[in-house]
Amino acid sequence: MVSEQLVDLSRLQFAATAMYHFLFVPLTLGMVWMLVIMESVYVMTGKTIYKDMTRFWGKLFGINFALGVTTGITLEFQFGTNWAYYSHYVGDIFGAPLAIEGLMAFFLESTFIGLFFFGWDRLSRQQHLLVTILMAVGTNLSALWILIANGWMQNPVGSEFSYETMRMELTDFWAVVFNPVAQGKFVHTVSAGYVTGAMFVLSISAWYLLRGRDVEFAKRSFRIAAAFGFASICSVIVLGDESGYALGEAQQTKLAAMEAMWETEPAPASFNVIALPNEAGMKNDFAIHIPWVMGLIGTRSLDKELPGLNQIYALNRERVTVGVEAVKLLEALRKNPQDAALREAFDKVKADLGFGLLLKKYVASMDDVTPELIDRAARDTLPKVAPLFWTFRIMVALGFAMLALFGLALWYSIKGDFAQRPWLLKWALWFLPMPWLACEMGWFVAEYGRQPWTIYGVLPTHLSVSTLTVESLYGSLAGFVGFYTLLLIVEMYLMVKFARQGPGSLGTGRYMNETHHAHA
């Protein structure tokens, strides 16, 4: 049997490298559209300052993009290196969107980013703008296919287990593509990226304005960021709510845990603003409710119930019990694949196969299963409530704080006197890290909230890992931590250096500090 420690280390390595990758992705997703906007203004008005804006913000975009590419390859490798059984078990479905992402999106984005940086003197204005737009389309399509893959892990539609090949197989490709969870995740995630790009430009522009330098450049950048950011944050919030609704349909466990809903309430359920979840007692020691709100978010109705964790537990205990039968029948069927009676019996219970597999964490053979173990496996299906409850609330609070900031930034941009309001500029400056924090919290909710599954209800995390030694994992984890720390230091150093240098780093002779850094 696979050791607990190996599973934990594999999870830690994936979580660390994925969260690190997502430090760079949202900025890419958002800034690329800011570049499209700036360059479009340049092409339409012919004003050089907009070309300089495109090039300067593009330079910072490039520094970020390099690490996005570097850390993205890790993730594609890692399914194979560390999650071999997962790769075998679901590759028939999960591999396809990853490969299509490469063919349709990543090639596009990566080919045109080269021309974006090097093609200024070789392309007409219109051609260069087209290149920038194609790069933006590529980055966003890339996110689409990755989130289709991730959406399938959350809500595994369009597929079926095959006992002959001992894996999940695709039955309906379009169901996977148009998976409501995937589509909801895509729009929510890219919008969060747009907010990140907008905040980045808004903050650094605010810093220039506070210092009274490169004022014309900074003011124009600030205005574009304020408008783009306001539209994006509205979209994040509305579409996040839409994701909540999709979850209410597909992943009631995660929704109940995020909301610390232990018991099924009469519809429409109330929303816990603050709660102190008690995991052992399976209840909240304290909570402040707003009546009706949860029912509206989760079901879009006043009469449908949302199940609480205690009810989900009872339901899952049944499914684990049936799952034990499913695993036993599968083992028999693997030995006698032609036995029609066995096949028929298995087909009746195979929907609960994943729940039976949860017990493989505790026993090698289903003959050793005891009622206590069934209890434990059913208890395992409930993620820990407190981390989900709080990270979700931090994300939402940050979202609303950013809504206020972008709202005011846009309001004063329209009035035209934002540059004279240091409180606003300082707010924008100090809020620079917030979209990243919110994005990481969001991913934590999505992924931690799916536990104990890699594929929700289908494949337990425990079974998904590669059969490596614990020593190998310590070694590779140390390697990743070392490399990534170094890379982050280098990246932050360059980012700060060029942000401080400002548009003068282009060497056009039109901005501050030009002679000082003429050869940098």
């Binding site: 594609e76 590759g91 591999g95």
Partner: protein, 380 residues
């Protein structure tokens, strides 16, 4: 679905080959340039010239690698699972070497400091030299068989060690692969530069081209006279649902040559490796660099194709439990997935080739010291 399952299985063997060859031709020439960087560029300006020959293109080219990995995941999931987890440290070495490329290219010339720049130059060298070496070593091990097996539920177990991968035949394969990629990169560099750098690149091309042909020949003789080769000894039902545990296989020295006896036309594949290699050598020597690049691309098709044809239908033979070997018939995805991925590849591949060609056309011409000076702030 217009193709039956066996046909699609065969098509996917070809398509994985196309993606690997595409990776070797496109990302390969970048890697060759990276490998040569510290040697053909004698000062900072020369090195910037070398880097900027691939500056606008390396990122797009690297996607051949990513897509190749994704396609193996989608079409041969159990191969992806078994190979990546089994070759754990080798894969991490490739990955960590690749880390140096995006940051090396983008960050190197952003700071005016000799130590900084030289550090990244060696980083680009590692990112260029290590991956082809390890891929060659990996192919060398595939040809000999790899120690792995499955349990009843198809969990893969790898029972070898990292150091076991570095055996003499595998190292020879690593030399062939590195020489091939460096040869190809040197020809590309000769095409995009002039003067001293071009002269040094042509010299490098001649050295690595000869090394590739000698190594390729040595590996061929080793296979003909050595103890490697596997053969399926049970009946093969190519239409069956994939189950890698349903056959028997045995170690059969010389078996890697049987395909050439059965289908003599396949001899054209290794012949293409030689013809392309020799033609590229002659052409680059004459200074006809573009034609030489085309010829070395054909050499790559021939060399990688030879490994594929020799092993067919094996993809990853097992040395410890030969029956668990993975083949193009029993390590594949479902009929439906193979069909969908076939159409996705058929639609997008020509589009990719079209815009990649356009990008090269836009950036065509020699990269010179004058170009670097004019673009001091924007060039790599």
């Amino acid at each position: 679905m217009i193709f039956d399952y066996p046909t699609l299985k065969l098509i996917w063997w070809l398509l994985v080959g196309v993606l690997l060859v595409g990776f070797a031709i496109m990302d390969g020439h970048d890697m060759g340039v990276g490998t040569l960087l510290p040697f053909v560029g004698k000062n900072d300006e020369e090195r910037r010239v070398v880097i900027n020959t691939v500056g606008p293109h390396w990122d797009g080219n690297q996607v051949w690698f990513i897509t190749g990995g994704g396609a193996i995941f989608a079409a041969w999931p159990i191969v992806y699972a078994t190979a990546f987890s089994g070759f754990y440290w080798a894969m991490l070495a490739v990955l960590w070497a690749l880390f140096f490329r995006p940051v090396g290219f983008d960050y190197r010339s952003k700071i005016h400091n000799a130590t900084w720049r030289s550090t990244w130059d060696w980083g680009l060298f590692i990112g260029g030299a290590v991956p082809p070496l390890i891929f060659g070593v990996a192919f060398g091990n595939l040809l000999q068989g790899v120690p792995f097996h499955f349990d009843d539920t198809l969990v893969p177990y790898y029972t070898g060690s990292f150091w076991g991968l570095l055996n003499p035949f595998a190292l020879l394969a690593g030399v062939v692969s590195t020489a091939m990629i460096t040869f190809h990169g040197a020809i590309y560099l000769a095409h995009r530069t002039e003067g001293d750098i071009q002269r040094r690149s042509i010299t490098a091309a001649l050295i690595f081209g000869v090394l590739m042909l000698v190594g390729f020949t040595a590996a061929g003789l080793w296979i003909a006279n050595g103890s490697i080769g596997y053969a399926i000894t049970s009946a093969v039902d190519t239409a069956a649902l994939p189950n890698p545990l349903a056959k028997t296989v045995e170690l059969q020295p010389g078996a890697w040559l049987t395909n050439y006896d059965k289908a003599p036309l396949t001899m054209l594949v290794p012949a293409l490796g030689y013809a392309g290699g020799i033609a590229a050598l002659l052409l680059v020597w004459k200074g006809r660099t573009l034609a030489a690049f085309v010829a070395s691309s054909f050499a790559i098709v021939g060399v990688i194709g030879t490994a594929g044809v020799s092993m067919f239908p094996f993809v990853m033979p097992s040395s410890t439990v030969p029956g668990a070997s993975l083949t193009v018939w029993d390590a594949v995805s479902s009929h439906r997935t193979l069909g969908i991925m076939f159409w996705a590849t058929l639609i997008f591949m020509p589009i990719i080739v079209a815009y990649t060609s356009w990008a090269y056309k836009v950036m065509a011409g020699k990269v010179t010291a004058a170009y670097i000076r004019e673009n001091e702030h924007s060039a790599y």
